[in-house]
Symmetry: C2
Subunit: 102 residues, 2 copies
DNA sequence: CGACTTTACGGGTCGCGTAAGTATA
DNA sequence: TATACTTACGCGACCCGTAAAGTCG
């Protein structure tokens, strides 16, 4: 499983359709379709039902969607937190935090 | 950023040393070292201080470590939840849930 | 000089894009 | 026959492992 697969999954779940998800992700449809298949294969159960109108979430997909969003949010938060702590340390090393005059 | 990078980071943070982290991950040292560098480059700040004795977490690294663990836990939980919901649906479709006579 | 991290280099794998195929209403 | 998902195929990028180099007490 990769973060790309998780992002693709969320896009498809929210758009209800591989084509629009691909547009939103700025990539072609086939990679999205393939990665969704790989994700379902790894989890061991389908996440969508395929209809001629698009992709509809199964209960397994709904369950995964909530957690997928949490993972992506946690990822952004982790990056932001580390970056903020890093900047703070850099400021401390230059003695520019206590007074905030820098 | 990739899940592999996050896993490598946690291993290095917990082992305090690239070599032991690599052993634990069952891969060679150089990939671990490279991925940690790539992670730091992407975040934009160092996460460790390098000493001749190993790698020591900076405040930014501590901040990232907590979130990294949460991400990996959320990932496992997401897989388990989807798998469980999928099995339940499969049982429902075969009519084997209500009575549990398998 | 010993332990650890980093750089160099070659090979295999993975993922994307284009093009063609399949299916349903 | 229009719309949407899927398979086929070729190519570039990424990642790993081995080997060599750099660094600090």
């Amino acid at each position: 499983m990769s973060l790309a697969q998780i992002r693709y999954f969320v896009a498809v779940a929210e758009e209800g359709n591989v084509g629009r998800a691909a547009d939103r992700l700025h990539i072609a449809q086939p990679p999205v379709s393939r990665q969704i298949q790989a994700l379902e294969a790894e989890i061991g159960t389908p996440l969508f039902v395929r209809t001629p109108r698009g992709m509809r979430l199964l209960p397994s997909g709904e369950a995964f969607l909530h957690r997928a969003r949490r993972i992506l949010n946690a990822l952004e938060e982790a990056t932001a937190a580390a970056r903020a702590a890093g900047l703070t340390s850099a400021e401390v090393e230059r003695g520019t935090v206590a007074s905030r005059r820098g």
